[in-house]
């Protein structure tokens, strides 16, 4: 259901049992590894790894399907854009050119370009499950505490946590307002022209902003009246001490990051080049 997308999904799984701080650190290291390397072997291994983690977390794919489709859509647009703007990037990187299809000018499709874009897509596929996992398995109560633990100021941590928490509320507001506006005849469906639909959406956004501003005033008063911002630091009710599992997870991902870096930069090149052998 769209109204609940990207909210915390409570399960009893090894992933859920890790503290929020561990998951955040692991996620950051995991992403760093995936971002730095273009080594196809590592990326494939990490991709399979992330699928295993996803399975372990007992989150079902359809529970995150809406966001997943959204991301895949962007990924596709991204891929097309790369091809449009630098169709010979792969040839540059790998140093060879195996032409597959002859097109106009520099738009000849090469095996190198396809391989390069395959690697980019693979990067996304290794990070997406990890990112989704981090979001849906981290108890929002623990989220701010985790950010604060890794050194982010508690004011910012809390602001982020509260913003995340209000996503479902704002989605609910959006739905209510959309219904109210549709009842006045505003059509949000495909029957309307695009220009009108954009205009009609604006008439939802304005009340949404006003009702959100109301919320903000109430919550900031409530927070101030109960001493938020009194000291330079604060403690957290839902902070949990690290357990053995946390250390294992962090050590595991740290090793992964190290191995990635070594393998990737061992030969002075971030790219794994399958074309060299063929030459």
């Amino acid at each position: 259901m769209a109204a609940e997308m990207l909210s915390y999904l409570d399960r009893n799984s090894p992933i859920h049992r890790l503290t929020g701080a561990t998951k955040l650190l692991c996620f950051l290291m995991w992403s760093a590894a995936a971002m730095l390397t273009y080594d196809t072997r590592i990326l494939l291994a990490m991709f399979i790894g992330s699928l295993v983690l996803f399975k372990l977390s007992r989150i079902r794919v359809q529970e995150v399907s809406f966001v997943l489709i959204l991301i895949l859509l962007f990924l596709m647009i991204n891929n097309i854009a790369i091809y449009l703007f630098s169709p010979q990037e792969g040839v540059n990187i790998y140093g060879t050119s195996h032409q597959l299809v002859h097109l106009v000018g520099r738009y000849n499709m090469t095996l190198e370009q396809l391989f390069y874009q395959f690697n980019i897509t693979l990067k996304y596929f290794t990070v997406i499950p990890a990112a989704l996992l981090f979001i849906v398995t981290t108890n929002p109560s623990e989220f701010a505490a985790s950010l604060n633990r890794i050194g982010v100021s508690y004011r910012i941590s809390f602001a982020v946590a509260i913003a995340l928490r209000y996503i479902p509320d704002i989605q609910r507001d959006f739905q209510t307002i959309a219904q109210a506006q549709q009842a006045r005849g505003l059509d949000m469906s495909r029957k309307e022209t695009l220009g009108r639909r954009v205009k009609n959406t604006a008439s939802i956004v304005v009340p949404l902003i006003f009702s959100s501003l109301d919320r903000i005033e109430v919550i900031s008063n409530a927070m101030e009246l109960r001493g938020f911002g009194k000291n330079n630091k604060r403690t957290w009710y839902s902070a949990r001490p690290f357990s053995v599992g946390d250390f294992i997870a962090m050590a595991g991902v740290a090793v992964l990051l190290a191995v990635t870096l070594i393998v990737t930069f061992y030969d002075g090149n971030r790219f794994y080049n399958p074309f060299l052998a063929g030459v």
Partner: protein
């Protein structure tokens, strides 16, 4: 000698953005352990007074202060909001918005977190505070899944955990169903007695607050204190009526009956009244029958046939809802919080689809129609006007629906102006919506629906958060619309609204219709009121105590007479 906890001396406050000072020359002393109720209508300055006590004024809402306010002996303006929050615990009006923590435990612990209390100590103290308020078995529950009463307990535990000497409640009863409201007052009273806290309640539902004893009532009007006396003395006087504040109904009834009210005892609670004195007069209550309220002969406009509704997760919310609404009726839909009243309204507008059953308008099956098709027949006014208003100018807001329908501009102008006149908004037609008060915004949203000429209008809590004056304005306005033939359904928690303005009430409870009868019959039926979290009207209790022969009729008699009296002075709606 009692120790003064809060003392205002020649205190005035002027908001930076306002033309006039909001508080003028306040002199008020509240002593340790007292329980004070502050009443006054919207804009009387009662909320500002509360904000001065908890420090939101002047630390969050800026402005100019003159005079002195001492809290626990120290000048408030020389401190900061954190120092004050250690003295004054505030429970805000909004039952949902004020929660900061996601779970009950987290929210209760919030102020301890800010005090850097260690996690294990914090968890222990949170449990203690939760036990005090009997919410300890729900520490891990999410706040928004709680019932209204549980939310109150959580909010209270969150301020009690600091052992504050002063507790301030800002309209604690708004948005609570009558039974939850009664419980909240009992809870506040228990805490007041056990913890000996100085307690201040800002609330305009005086009858409900006086369910438990209070020491003094402060009446505010236009930024000044116009009354400061024990409840009994206030009720015997005509101060409340003078400032159009709602008296407890039984007091109004006694006054209408021509009883002399003693200033020295028994008035603040119906069970303490010295009833023998009044029996005779009550037996001769003036009899005025309101003409033609019931219209059973009218044609049905809306039929619900065996409606069922379930959430997407399969949980059933409504079942076997069958009823017929006749053209021109004014019906209230009541029941406890979270029982499906709003969902029922959404079904009737096509916002949600029933799992089973039929919705028939004027003999035409509309069950599977789109929202747009529903909108040609039924209009819905939401509880919060900010959720509906999307245009900057009032005229444009009201014109929105017509413009979407493609009505020619000349005709739009004519129709919008006519509607604005009906709603008393014509003088403001070129104003920005943001310049209006909450009650006026509500009118704008009603006008925006009205202009579409629906046959049926559904209003969700039309008078929530409105003082008695605005309440009367809005309800008389709706009544006038009803007289012109629009069928009106209202979702409400206000028992008086239901009694006074509707001829029929549908009680929703346990997922279905518990009762469907006249409001007077429903509010005198112990079983139904208990099941649906309603509150038996004090008029009935009065009639029973006075040993009247027909207590139910007395309730109706009073309502008719009271409306007559009030209408005499009230503004008539002008139609063009």
């Amino acid at each position: 000698m009692k120790k003064p906890m809060i003392s205002f001396e020649n205190y005035s406050f002027h908001y930076r953005s306002q033309a006039e000072p909001t508080l003028k020359n306040i002199n008020l002393t509240i002593y340790e352990g007292e329980k004070i109720v502050i009443v006054g209508h919207s804009g009387s300055g009662k909320s500002t007074l509360a904000h001065c006590i908890n420090g939101l004024v002047p630390f969050s809402y800026k402005g100019t202060i003159s005079g002195s306010l001492k809290i626990a002996g120290k000048e408030a303006k020389d401190q900061n909001i954190f120092a004050l929050s250690a003295l004054v615990g505030t429970v805000l009006q909004d039952p949902d918005g004020q929660f900061i923590g996601l779970t009950v435990g987290e929210d209760i612990a919030f102020s301890l977190e800010n005090d850097c209390v260690e996690t294990d100590v914090m968890q222990r103290r949170t449990l203690e505070a939760a036990k005090l308020l009997d919410i300890d078995h729900r520490l891990t529950h999410r706040v928004h899944q709680l019932s209204g009463g549980q939310k109150q307990r959580t909010a209270l535990a969150g301020v009690m955990i600091d052992n504050v000497p002063i507790l301030l409640f800002d309209e604690p009863l708004a948005n609570l169903d009558p039974a939850a409201g009664k419980y909240a007052i009992e809870l506040i009273d228990r805490i007041h007695q056990e913890a000996k806290t100085t307690t201040i309640i800002v609330e305009h539902r005086l009858e409900d607050v006086l369910h438990r004893k209070a020491d003094r009532i402060i009446v505010m009007n236009e930024g000044q204190i116009v009354g400061d006396m024990p409840p009994n003395e206030l009720l015997a006087s005509d101060i409340l009526a003078k400032y159009t504040l709602r008296e407890p109904l039984y007091i109004t009834a006694l006054k209408h009956a021509g009883c002399d009210l003693p200033a020295d005892g028994g008035l603040e609670h119906i069970q303490k009244l010295d009833i023998d004195e009044f029996k005779d007069k009550l037996n001769h209550f003036p009899n005025t029958r309101a003409p033609g309220k019931t219209r059973h002969d009218a044609a049905p406009i809306l039929e619900l046939r065996d409606l069922h509704f379930s959430y997407r997760n399969g949980q059933q919310l409504l079942k076997n809802i069958s009823t017929v609404i006749s053209k021109g009726e004014m019906v209230s839909i009541v029941g406890k919080n979270g029982t499906g009243k709003t969902t029922l309204a959404k079904l009737l507008c096509g916002f949600e689809n029933p799992a089973q059953g039929r919705i028939v308008y004027n003999g035409e099956d509309m069950t599977n129609n789109t929202i747009k098709e529903f909108s040609l027949r039924v209009g819905m006014v939401m509880q919060n006007p900010n959720q509906m208003i999307s245009k900057h100018m009032i005229f444009d807001e009201v014109a929105l629906g017509l413009r979407v329908r493609g009505v020619p501009e000349a005709e739009i102008k004519q129709q919008v102006n006519r509607t604005l006149k009906i709603c008393g908004l014509y003088p403001f037609r070129n104003w920005p919506v943001s310049a209006l008060s909450f009650g006026q915004k509500k009118r704008v949203t009603i006008a925006a629906i009205l202009v579409l000429k629906p046959e049926v209008m559904i209003l969700d809590e039309p008078t929530a958060g409105q003082d008695f004056r605005h309440y009367t304005d809005i309800m008389e306005f709706l009544l006038e619309l009803n007289r012109q033939g629009i069928t009106i359904l209202m979702i409400t928690h206000d028992m008086h609204l239901m009694l006074e303005y509707t001829s029929r009430a549908i009680v929703i409870g346990n997922g279905t219709i518990l009762a469907d009868d006249t409001p007077a019959n429903i509010l005198t039926d112990r079983e139904v009121t208990k099941l649906a979290h309603l509150k038996e009207t004090s008029l009935y209790a009065l009639a029973v105590r006075a040993g009247l022969e027909h207590p139910r009729e007395f309730v109706q008699q009073f309502i008719d007479y009271d409306r007559e009296v009030r209408q005499h002075g009230s503004r008539n709606v002008i139609l063009s």
